[in-house]
């Protein structure tokens, strides 16, 4: 390296390069004259040739030509008779011509050598750059987490990146040189011949493979093969990139299992629903008929016999009629309740204030003769089924009216409470008889009542209906109360999402 540096420096500076010619010729001349003093013969020509060789070797062709000219002049001046003139006799001409020719030949050789050397240096530099690039590329392949390995056409592993080491557990030193099939025990889902055929035809193949890791566990990989060919187009190696999809496959399987389970469940549900529908239908027809008959015959009996039987008997008949009527109401309410579960909801954007107004009109006759202070706050728009939401309002308001009956001054407040970012909360509050929070879980059950029927009439289905409607709207219902301290019923539902709902 040091030598080539020196050469490069000389080569870069023309002053040094061309200075070398007179310098070396002067040294040769001096040496020849000195040796001449000691009567050595014929040393001048070899020394001049040596000087020319030095010049051409270290400074190139230009300085060498200068050295040839200077050597010729010096030779003519100092060593060819007559001395100290530039005159050359005919006898000396061959000597002189041969000298110049030899010097030129020497220069030519040196020039060829220089060219060869320059080419070699260039080739070396090129190789160095390439090696650096390749090394960088190889280390880049090591950076990726994807397992990548190369195997030759004899299935012997020739490259094994860090991703492959991480997934399969063998280091590159352990893997390179071994047969990949022996190492990974690949299980092919497609015949290997087909894969090879496709690889040779299109230079690539991809598919799912099962492979075995160093620790014996199996992985499923998404595998991509690329064929590497030499200049003549012969296949030389296969580069294989693998992605571990074991987890994904497992999850896909889970999802598939869940979907099957879901399909099964929904089939079961559908069949239950059908049964329920048949049941409701049968209740609607068959259960109502005997109740109607009881009422009918009891009434006819009452008509015929009321004047001849005593007061107690009349009371009994009245009770039969009353019970039949109550049974009829229960059946009707229960059917309505079951219908809410089965009916399709038709959701639109609703004006709750308007719904409350309608509900108040509907319950008007219950408020006659009552002293009720209504406090109705601002109500939001609500996204839901109009008739169902109306039923919710009617049920909650008529409950509030019913359970404030014992109050000389009833207060009923309807408003919007602070919900969270996604939900609206509406409440109906009264100062009625309230309830014990101990039994709050029973409030919304079908036929569950917290008051005796002689205090407050009812079938115990109203709040269950409210709950079912709100659940069908993706909302909730809950209540707070205090014995003799009033009750508040809340329901919540998703906030309308801007224009999405309006459309």
């Amino acid at each position: 390296m040091a030598r080539s540096n020196l050469e490069l420096q000389i080569a870069r500076s023309p002053l040094l390069r061309y200075g070398l010619a007179p310098l070396s010729v002067s040294v040769a001349l001096g040496g020849s004259l000195l040796l001449g003093r000691f009567h050595f013969r014929n040393v001048a020509d070899p020394l001049f040739l040596f000087a020319i060789a030095i010049a051409v070797w270290y400074a190139g062709i230009g300085p060498a030509i200068v050295a040839v000219v200077l050597s010729g002049l010096a030779d003519t001046l100092f060593f060819i008779e007559p001395l100290y003139t530039l005159y050359v006799t005919r006898d000396d001409l061959p000597h002189f011509v041969i000298f110049v020719l030899f010097a030129s030949l020497l220069t030519g050789f040196a020039a060829v050598r220089r060219r060869v050397e320059r080419d070699l240096v260039q080739a070396r530099d090129h190789l160095q750059i390439e090696v650096a690039e390749r090394t960088q590329q190889a280390s880049l392949l090591n950076l990726t987490h994807d397992p990548i390995f190369v195997r030759d056409m004899g299935d012997v592993v020739t490259y094994w990146n860090r991703g492959a080491q991480e997934l399969y557990g063998w280091t590159d030193k352990e893997a390179i040189g071994r047969h990949s099939q022996e190492l990974l025990q690949t299980i092919f889902s497609t015949p290997l011949e087909d894969i090879r055929a496709e690889l040779l035809r299109t230079n690539r193949w991809e598919g799912e493979l099962k492979k075995t890791k160093a620790d014996g566990t199996q992985v499923v990989v998404a595998s991509r093969w690329s064929l590497r060919q030499d200049d003549q187009g012969r296949a030389v190696a296969i580069l294989e990139t693998n992605n571990d999809i074991t987890e994904r496959k497992r999850r896909e399987q889970d999802i598939q299992n869940l979907n099957q389970e879901l399909a099964k469940r929904s089939m079961e549900l559908e069949s239950i629903n059908r049964e329920l529908e048949a049941f409701a239908y049968s209740v609607s027809h068959d259960l109502r008929a005997p109740v109607r008959h009881m009422a009918g015959y009891a009434e006819m009996l009452q008509k015929k016999a009321s004047s001849v039987v005593d007061e107690k008997s009349n009371h009994y008949m009245a009770m039969i009629l009353d019970s039949a009527k109550r049974m009829g109401n229960l059946i009707d309410d229960l059917l309505a309740f079951s219908r809410i579960g089965r009916a399709e909801t038709q959701k639109t954007l609703l004006n709750l204030a308007q719904l409350v107004k309608e509900a108040l009109t509907e319950v008007q006759q219950d408020t006659e003769g009552r002293n009720i202070a209504w406090k109705i706050g601002a109500l939001p728009e609500f996204y839901g089924d109009r008739s169902m939401l109306r039923l919710v309002m009617v049920n909650l308001i008529s409950n509030a009216i019913k359970f404030t009956r014992t109050r000389p001054q009833a207060e009923i407040e309807i408003g919007c409470a602070n919900g969270n970012a996604d939900d609206l909360v509406v409440f109906v509050r009264d100062n009625g008889v309230g309830f014990d929070m101990k039994y709050v879980h029973k409030l919304f059950g079908v036929f569950q009542r917290l008051h005796q029927s002689h205090e407050f009439e009812g079938t115990g289905i109203g709040l269950a209906t409210v709950q079912r409607i709100m659940h069908r709207h993706g909302g909730k219902v809950w209540a707070e109360g205090l014995v003799d301290g009033g009750a508040t019923f809340y329901f919540s539902g998703p906030k309308p999402q801007g224009d999405l709902w309006r459309s």
């Binding site: 109607r292 006819m300 009527k325």
Partner: protein, 152 residues
Amino acid sequence: MEIVNKLGRILMVEDDPKDVELTLTALEEYNLANEVIVTRDGEQALDYLYSRGEYKTRSSGNPAVMLLDLKLPKVDGLEVLKQIKSDGELRMIPVVVLTSSKEEKDMVASYKLGVNAYVVKPVDFHEFVNAIKELGVFWAVINEPPPGSVRK
């Protein structure tokens, strides 16, 4: 009484004897029960309308109104209704479905088949009697039945 003079024939299709009794009682109360034919299932009703089987020898003419229950043995009410409304001769007979069921799907099916009225029997006997009376008065007295109907 004018009502009695104008009274049309009522065909009742009802399998439950108690319902028959209660309905007849209600009709009697308003003197509407004289011309009531009671059939106990869909087949019998159709036999009557087509004058076949046990009704082969009945006097001719269609009823002024038909009170039809839906849940019937053999041929159910909706099938009877379908048969009547698809028959060129019988389709003019006014048919009133009189049923226990408040089921919407029955109601929709009946109207689609062309029923003339749909009445749910009230549990309360007073209401029941009123309903039957009004039905009887309207269809058998006030309404002009189609030509060919039997009038007393």
